[in-house]
Amino acid sequence: MAGVLGTSIKRREDPALITGRGKYTDDLKVEGMAHAAIVRSPYAHARIRGIDASAAEALPGVLAVLTARDVAAAGIPGVVPVGWLLPDLKTPAHPMIAADTVRHVGDAVAVVVAEDRYIARDAADRVAVDYEPLDAVADVVAALEERAPAVHDEAPGNVAFDWEIGDREAVDAAFAQAASTVELDLRNNRLIPHAIEPRAVLASYDSSTGEMTIHMTSQNPHVHRLLMTLASLGMPEHKVRIVAPEVGGGVGSKIHHYADEAIVGLCSMKLDRPVKWTATRTETNLTDAHGRDHSTHCALALDADGRITGLKVETAAAMGAYLSTFAPAVPTYLYGTLMSGQYDIPAIHCHVIGVFTHTAPVDAYRGAGRPEATFVVERLMHLAGEATGLGPIEVRKRNFVPADAFPYQTQVALAYDSGNYGPAMDRALEMIGYDDVRGEQASRRSNGGRQIGIGFSSYIEACGLAPSAVVGSLGAQAGQWESADVRVHPTASVTVYTGSSSHGQGHETTFSQIVADRLGIAPEAVEVIHGDTDLVQFGMGTYGSRSAAVGGSAIARSVDKIIEKGKKIAAHLLEASAEDIEYEDGNFRVAGSPDRALGLGDVALQAYLAHNYPDDLEPGLSATSFYDPSNFTYPFGTHVCVVEVDTETGGIELLRYAAVDDVGNVINPMIVDGQLHGGLAQGIGQALWENAVYDDSGQLVTGSLMDYALPKIHNLIQFELDRTTTPCPHNPLGVKGVGEAGAIASPPAVVNAVVDALAPFGVTHIDMPLTPEKVWRAVNA
């Protein structure tokens, strides 16, 4: 149907969700369902001397207490695997239930199953674990010190991997000849994802069939099934069905395979009845994979004209106590490869050490590596603007990859397929009224009082995770394609089975728009099925801003195959040659004879009746595609933030936030804006408020929403959004992805603005989050 693409159709998901009729995992109730509570270590590092469950078992209503001994007795693999490997990666075992050593607060040591969740929780409190506390290290830098307590014997010095990309010698030469250099030591603060819905699982094993159905909070049910069966429960894959019902957000945290879901699966097998577990908010804070947590030294070399000649980056990236599913890929393939930003940089070197610490694991969280890279590059560009005297705009423009230089091969593996960076910045300057804001800043500076600052972030991201050819060339032993099965029913309505499992993004709406546009039918005639391994062929899931670019492209390919098949059927019915059939607005027509035409419905019906088909034509009208993109997509944009800083109190107020993003073709502008709003809230949250804090004994002291400061609606302002459009040249839709852009671009925009406001006080950097105390101390240093 013409005009359906690029239209803000209201989300078809919302009526159920906003009237409380959405069914999330914790809403599900099945006959005979028992409840699990997991006993967790209160120590960051301890040896388990013994576990006495007798008091728990004695509580009426308790069905079982399982420990590592039961995992061993079950004869299952019983581990939580890492899904991405790097060369020389240390992969110490991560047992589902800790057997003899716990390595972070929250590590599972036992599980109680009871008739209701209250009994289960009470009984869990009665499981007596005898711990011998050991020294712990929670800080990524302290963990690398010589006498730091070891997290794993298999990883000397707590080093999980030592990875580099780029040309160190070329960078050293650039610095030796530089006209000016800037450098920075920074910490990228550890974040806790905070999906609105905590993780939950309902596992139902049936010994009479040997089948298990697991309903769970998953961004990628097939990947969870693979890891769950292969490494944790040791069940045949075809006997396990994983269903992701409504999923209340994930922002990365529900990509990963966790011990808890496997433990609940084991409980169900052991008891031969359904078992449910839903995390408390404190449990999610202790056990959801966290994000970021880098310590970085970085430097930029420039020539006399202010052109960048070299960039070097040294990063220690926390992995936490165990390697989570995608953890090693995040500070490497999704970080080091992004260091060229929007700039033509002739020499880059990035060296990353992955570090074990006695904390919750660290893995992909909205942006995953790319916010950390953007922060490095854009903070350095701010400093370069100051050092060269060119200012933040000119230093960027002078170094942008020119619009006529695409495709552009960076020095860090990625080849940018397209881009046009200047217009996005110009539009952002126009929206913010740059000269007026600078004028106001000058007047505040001379008159005193609250200071104004303007911060820029010209970001690039690599979306559409992850083309196997590109990541394979970097040493990854996996690629991430997506599948789509599109079925046209005899009456010409359509069901799409997609491997992109939605957890709030609105896939059902946007994917129906893609099909409606391509097939020339109404979006209401398209149903979208996702999140069920028994219904969907296979899928990689939703993360890394990949659903439209990869999942959507797979759907487009299947629709194209259906049109080709329909042409053959139409040709047979119209007694014409298939080459002469054209498809437009839902009709198959013979070229040059507009009267000889059949609607999609006529063709679909005949496809299923099929009583007089020629031998070379199969009945049916459906097509499956597995789409492996040839490259990442490269969204970009410029964000400008204006802040007011109270130099007396250190308080910061957001005044303006303008974002110009180029995400390629837009399927549904309202959904794109919504993704940007959410991402901006998270990125601004990282810059100003959010911080996951462990004390020096490895206790998480931000285990609740009293202590971990998420942004609230009243902390934020109305974002000013606009777009430029540079379609992706290598996928059928020309889309690039938008899920992470806000979270990637905004932290350096905010920090650059605050530092700009405080320039008269000699402030050049403050580590996130920019709390009033830190700002005040910087002003008064």
């Binding site: 967790r40 270590s41 209160p42 120590y43 960051a44 607060v105 869990a124 409190d125 009665r126 404190t282 804070n285 202790l286 004390d695 004994s697 206790q699 998480l700 002291v701 931000t702 285990g703 609740s704 009293m706 202590d707």
Partner: protein, 199 residues
């Protein structure tokens, strides 16, 4: 978490000393304390049952008083663990004569908490512990003064100060249970605050 401070009592040092040493005082001053019993010289073990709002739990733990230097002070070691987590503390109490016959108590406690009580509301612990400590000490001070005054009115002047202190401590144990008298109690008070923060 560090809890450090001082407080002046308007009664002589020996009276304060007896009060902060008496196991019965130690036991009875703690709400929820069960089975507190001496297990060795200056060592006590017991259970502390806490129910604050929806959160409840039992801590098992002990207090050991070390380096007793009557009537100048002692060091202490304290540990407790239970379903809500664990708490370990070390510290010292020092007494010295204040002007006009009173006593100056210095307390210096270093406590570590872990598990659920650390993850939830730890940032409230510091300030809440300080407030509760101050309130406890002020309450104790008021009671000490009342008791000292009434004792002085009924006893003959010949009664030794030590005998008075003994009787005083017994009275304290009977009647003054809500008030925290010393460092060990302050450490255990932290647990109560933590639980309140959990709720």
């Amino acid at each position: 978490m560090k809890i450090t401070g001082s407080h002046t009592f308007a009664v002589p040092r020996s009276i304060v000393w007896e009060a902060i040493l008496d196991p019965e005082v130690l036991s009875r001053t703690l709400p929820g304390c069960e089975d507190m019993a001496p297990v060795g010289e200056n060592q006590f073990r017991g259970k502390l049952k806490m129910k604050v709002g929806p959160v409840q739990g039992v801590f098992e733990g002990g207090v050991e008083l070390l380096d007793l230097d009557p009537p100048n002070g002692y060091s202490l070691k304290m540990d407790g663990k239970g379903a809500p987590g664990f708490v370990n503390g070390t510290g010292s109490l020092r007494l010295e004569d204040a002007d006009d016959g009173g006593t100056l108590l210095h307390y210096d406690i270093d406590a570590r908490v872990g598990g659920r009580i650390a993850a939830v509301g730890q940032r409230l612990l510091d300030s809440s512990a300080k407030v509760l400590t101050r309130q406890g000490l002020q309450g104790l001070e008021a009671q000490l003064e009342t008791r000292a005054a009434s004792a002085a009115a009924t006893e003959t002047p010949a009664t030794s100060q030590t005998a008075f202190a003994g009787r005083f401590a017994a009275g304290l144990a009977r009647e003054l249970w809500p008030y925290f008298a010393g460092g060990a109690l302050v450490v255990l008070a932290i647990i109560a605050i933590s639980l309140r923060a959990c709720s």
